[in-house]
Symmetry: C2
Subunit: 196 residues, 2 copies
DNA sequence: TGGTGTGAACTTTTTCACAGCG
DNA sequence: CGCTGTGAAAAAGTTCACACCA
C-alpha cells in the first residue's frame, strides 16, 4: 500500500511526506506508519519527514522487489490468458517467462508471445528460463497438481489464483489471490450499513 | 475462505466436517474456526461437526451474499474488459449490469453484451439498472472521479481495482483490490527464506 | 521548531482448556 | 463419547506520549 501511495505522490510532484499526511491518505494512524517503516530501518529525517523517492527505494529493497522476478504460469484458461496479456506485470518487475498447461489442444499454441508447454515439462524448463515464482491459474480441481509440478521444480513461491487450498512442503510460501473475497466483504459491509 | 473450502468439500462429496479437519485445510487453529463461525450463530452440532451444505448456506446468509448483487463497472480499459468477460461473476452472484467510461471513443461500444455509457450518466441509470455496488477499473489518476460519480449516485459499496487510494464519505465502504500486493508478499517471503 | 523513532499502555486477536450438549 | 461453544489466558498488534535530533 505504501509503495502504491508513494508512487502516486511522486507522480504528483511531491518530494517529501510526513507520517501525518501519509496516514491521512492511507487511512491509518501516523504511529502505525512510523512503526511499520522503522521496522526495516531509519528511513525518515527528524523534523522533515520522508523523502518520497528514497522511501520507495528503501521499501522495495526491504521487500526484495527492487529487481526482476521471473514467473511461470500454469493453466492457460480465461484467467491465465488475461494475466499473460496484462502488461502491468513487466512494469512491476514480474516477468512471466513460461506458460504451461496439460491440455494437448493448448500445447503449442502461442499466447502473448509465449508458446504453451506441457505442465509435465515444467521441471526441465525451470533452470533454463530462470523461473523463481509460480502462478497457478487452473480450475480448482487441478490446482494441487499444478502446485506439485512447481514444488518439484524447486520453486519456493507460489501465487494461487485457483479457488482451492493447496498443500506445500515447509519452505514454500503460497499466497492466495481471489478477488471475490473483496466482493463478499463489500456486500457484507453494505448489508450491515443498511441495517441501522 | 471458508465458503471456498466448503464448496470444494461439497464437490468431493463430503457432508460433514469437523473444525479440526477444516482447520487443517485452511491452515489455521481449530479454535479459530469455531470462534469465527460461532460469531454469527450456532452452526455446528456437538459431537458431530458441521454439515457442509448447511454451513455454506449459513455463512452466505450471514455475509449477505445469498442473493444477487448488481454492479456498475467504471473504466472500460484492459482490466475492465477482462472483468466484463469473466463469467465467474454471475456464478458468484455479482452481476455487472452497467459499463461506464468517460472516453468518447469508447462510449457506445458494446463489450460483453453491455453498451458503454458516459460516466456522467451513472446517476441517472443507477435506479433503472438496480445498481448497488461500484467497480472502479480506471487508471489511478481517474479513480477519484469515478468514485465521486458512484458516491453521487448513492452507491454504498465500492471495489477499487485502480492502484490509488480514494476518499469517500462516511457510510460508504471501499475494498482495494490489487493482486500485486500478493506478488510483493511472495517475493518478500522467498527473499527471507533464501537468507537462512 | 517540527516530525521521527520508540518504550510503555492499551486494545484486539488468537489460543487454550474445558463445560455442555447431541 | 466426541466435538462444539466459550470464558480465561496468552500473544500480537495498535496507539500514545515523549525523548531525540536535523
Amino acid at each position: 500500500m505504501y509503495i502504491q501511495v508513494l508512487e502516486n505522490l511522486q507522480r504528483d510532484g511531491k518530494n517529501v511526506i510526513s507520517s501525518e499526511l501519509l496516514a491521512r491518505t492511507c487511512d491509518v494512524n501516523p504511529s502505525q506508519i512510523r512503526k511499520d517503516l522503522a521496522y526495516f530501518g531509519e528511513f525518515g529525517v527528524r523534523g522533515v519527514g520522508y523523502y518520497v523517492q528514497d522511501l520507495i527505494t528503501s521499501i522495495k529493497q526491504a521487500l526484495g522487489v527492487d529487481r526482476v522476478w521471473k514467473c511461470a504460469l500454469v493453466g492457460v484458461g480465461n484467467l491465465g490468458r488475461a494475466l499473460l496479456n496484462h502488461r502491468e506485470f513487466r512494469l512491476r518487475g514480474f516477468h512471466i517467462v513460461g506458460a504451461f498447461d496439460c491440455d494437448p489442444f493448448k500445447i503449442g499454441e502461442v499466447v502473448s508471445g509465449l508458446e504453451v508447454v506441457c505442465s509435465r515439462r515444467l521441471k526441465e524448463r525451470t533452470a533454463d528460463l530462470g523461473i523463481e515464482l509460480g502462478v497457478i491459474t487452473t480450475p480448482p480441481e487441478r490446482a494441487q497438481r499444478a502446485c506439485n509440478y512447481l514444488v518439484d521444480a524447486g520453486i519456493k513461491g507460489i501465487l494461487n489464483f485457483a479457488p482451492a487450498r493447496i498443500e506445500v512442503p515447509e519452505g514454500v510460501t503460497v499466497e492466495y489471490v481471489d478477488f471475490f473475497h473483496h466482493f463478499y466483504a463489500v456486500a457484507f459491509n453494505v448489508t450491515l450499513g443498511s441495517q441501522d
